[in-house]
Subunit: 395 residues, 2 copies
């Protein structure tokens, strides 16, 4: 196929988007979906085949007349999705329908700085590409755990990413992999993944609350990510709940994150271990030397009362913020994701109880509050959605 | 002009919207604004003149060649805007550019029920129409102080509007005034007014916090009102700040409204008068028998310390909610409106101080927080915008 994934007009872009999101379709099904003359459709589909962006895929069952030809996104199409977390990186290779062909994950401290982290990313991309018969990557999407200037593709004063401020990720990765690159924050990227392939398909207005090391919120309005006027929309981790609350990493006190987040849970776990209120965490601390949010999750699973109390109290704080956002935003779905969501049902139950009790009945009567699949590929898939959508918008 | 304000195609609708929002324009200016061939433009403008929706208005200054004809919305175009508040009704008659030709306001208790209140509205419309040389109203927009099913044009379980639940306002008014009618809540209608003719022109993402008897929020995303999946978006008055807070009109406790709203201020004023902490309010109460939020405003203006403390404390609570919403939504402007906004600078100063201290720097660095003009016509103008936009969207 072509070196560039570049439709020639909006019409072709629309067809490519349909084939990406819904898989192979017959020409007559495409005609039904876009409501256009048979002849106009035939011209544009033929042109997409000519450009190498689409390929024939057999014949559909007859609908009475001649059997309609099925087409699909060219099988040589390749996107790379990168999800850089605070403590790990995930890289996936997908086809043009954003199906994951390969996925690699490894621990990696984002504080190592952009050069070191991106070298690891390139190594993982190389590894995934070794077994791939097709030579070209058509675009790379990248999520990073901090605020991003979407236009410039650079992190902007990211609190947990020292050394990354204004680093030109887009240019560096684009030159190395020789293709278009887009960068967004990890929460938006995960939200796009849930919309494309996860629990939020066909939901047009939704919130995704990601609780990882920090806390952020992805906002979808009318099927599109809402970023706000300076790109900081959804940055809810530092909403102040109580000015006399715990000290936060941001230097203020009483922020949401200071009550409930990956780092706050690790802090609470250390306290519960050293004070002796949690025998489970005490033992774990003696074994491993350092406690994380995942240890709190294990303690909850083991039925440790102190850990359960910590989770319940933190989740109730988060639930009160979500309840306010639900009253304000009236979404069609709320998704709880990120590493801390791995705690699972005890966390979800507390959040649901607070939101259903505190938000307006009109806003909650048909509101699902669900967990994202833990350890999934929503981040990397969302990153490929980001870049492929960008390429289709330009067409 | 025509009985119906009904463009024949999207193109005509676009031209009418330009003329409504920007006033008379020459044909060549219209051509620049819509980027279309001269001949196509001429055909559509001529057709609008033929339909009686647009009329010639002289010749523009020469731009080198032949002088271009100016056109404007037909001067016989009439819209009616109705803003029903908890304790007053406002009715305005506008031309097709939504300029107010006449505006009447009178006290009216919404608890009187729909028949009685709408009779007053019809009386005011008749009064405004008496001096009008043109015979037809082309559309009516109505704002009501409660949740509305936008599609059906009826209030839905509105807490402060007994007797209005599911009342078919749209049908009743449409039959009486023989024209299309649209109903929305008062906050959305006011927000549309500020976008059309107030402080928010050209701001695409904004929040309007209306503090009247209750508290609500208008949300604009990408230049359009965002209503949420069940139409309750912006319903922030019952966000729970503290479950052990004051009892609210909704039956819960600690809602935002129970701390700061028209009714909460009236309650606090009564307390300050009867306990003797506010000599000003004590005297006012003796004179009038009942205290309102407006009396608190007068007391603040007179420098009464107890009233100032009540306002400062309530405004700080409201400010904390706004600060959270600013972090979440990253708007381009925040407008404070509604009757209580008449307290003016002392209220605004407290809100600004809390928001600028508590919200993210990225979200506040270019964020104006401003007062709506008190006692203005934003509600009625917004209501005419609602109905005219609806008519233009159908075209």
């Amino acid at each position: 196929m072509n070196a560039r994934y570049e439709p020639e007009n909006r019409y072709q872009a629309h067809l490519l988007r349909l084939l990406r999101d819904h898989g192979p379709r017959s020409r007559s099904e495409l005609g039904d979906a876009v409501q256009v003359s048979r002849s106009k459709l035939a011209v544009e589909v033929d042109r997409l085949v000519e450009l190498g962006l689409v390929e024939p895929a057999g014949l559909a069952a007859s609908r009475g007349g001649r059997r309609s030809g099925i087409v699909r996104i060219a099988s040589a199409t390749r996107f790379v999705g990168v999800d850089i977390g605070a403590t790990s990186i995930d890289v996936a290779l997908t086809n043009g329908e954003l199906e994951v062909l390969g996925h690699l994950s490894e621990p990696c401290d984002v504080r190592g700085g952009p050069e070191a982290v991106l070298e690891r990313v390139f190594a993982l991309v190389d590894k995934l590409r070794q077994v791939d018969p097709f030579p070209r990557v058509h675009g790379v999407g990248i999520g990073v755990p901090g605020p991003v200037s979407f236009r410039e593709g650079t992190p902007v004063i990211p609190p947990i990413m020292p050394g990354w401020d204004r680093f030109p990720i887009r240019g560096v990765v684009g030159r190395r992999l020789d293709c278009p690159v887009l960068v967004d924050n990890d929460v938006n990227v995960m939200t796009l993944g849930e919309r494309h392939a996860g629990v939020a398909r066909s939901i047009d207005d939704l919130l995704l609350i990601k609780v990882g090391t920090g806390v952020g919120c992805g906002i979808v309005v009318g099927g599109r990510i809402y970023r706000g006027v300076s790109g900081s929309a959804g940055d809810i981790g530092h909403i102040r709940l109580d000015e006399s609350g715990p000290t936060c990493v941001c230097g203020n006190s009483g922020c949401l994150e200071s009550y409930f987040s990956g780092w706050a849970l690790a802090r609470d776990a250390e306290a519960a271990a050293s004070s002796g209120t949690s025998p489970f965490l005490g033992r774990r601390s003696a074994e491993t030397g350092v406690l994380t949010a995942a240890d709190v999750g294990d303690a909850v699973t083991a039925g440790d009362p102190a850990a359960m109390a910590v989770v319940r109290e933190g989740a109730a704080r988060l639930g009160r913020v979500i309840a306010a956002l639900v009253s304000f935003f009236n979404p069609g779905m709320v998704i709880i994701g990120g590493g801390v969501a791995g705690i699972g049902h005890p966390l979800l139950a507390e959040i649901r109880s607070v939101v259903y009790r505190q938000s307006l009945p009109l806003a909650t009567e048909n509101l699902p509050i669900v967990l994202s699949e833990p350890g999934g590929t929503m981040g990397v898939v969302g990153a490929t959605h980001l870049i492929s959508d960008h390429l289709l918008t330009m067409g």
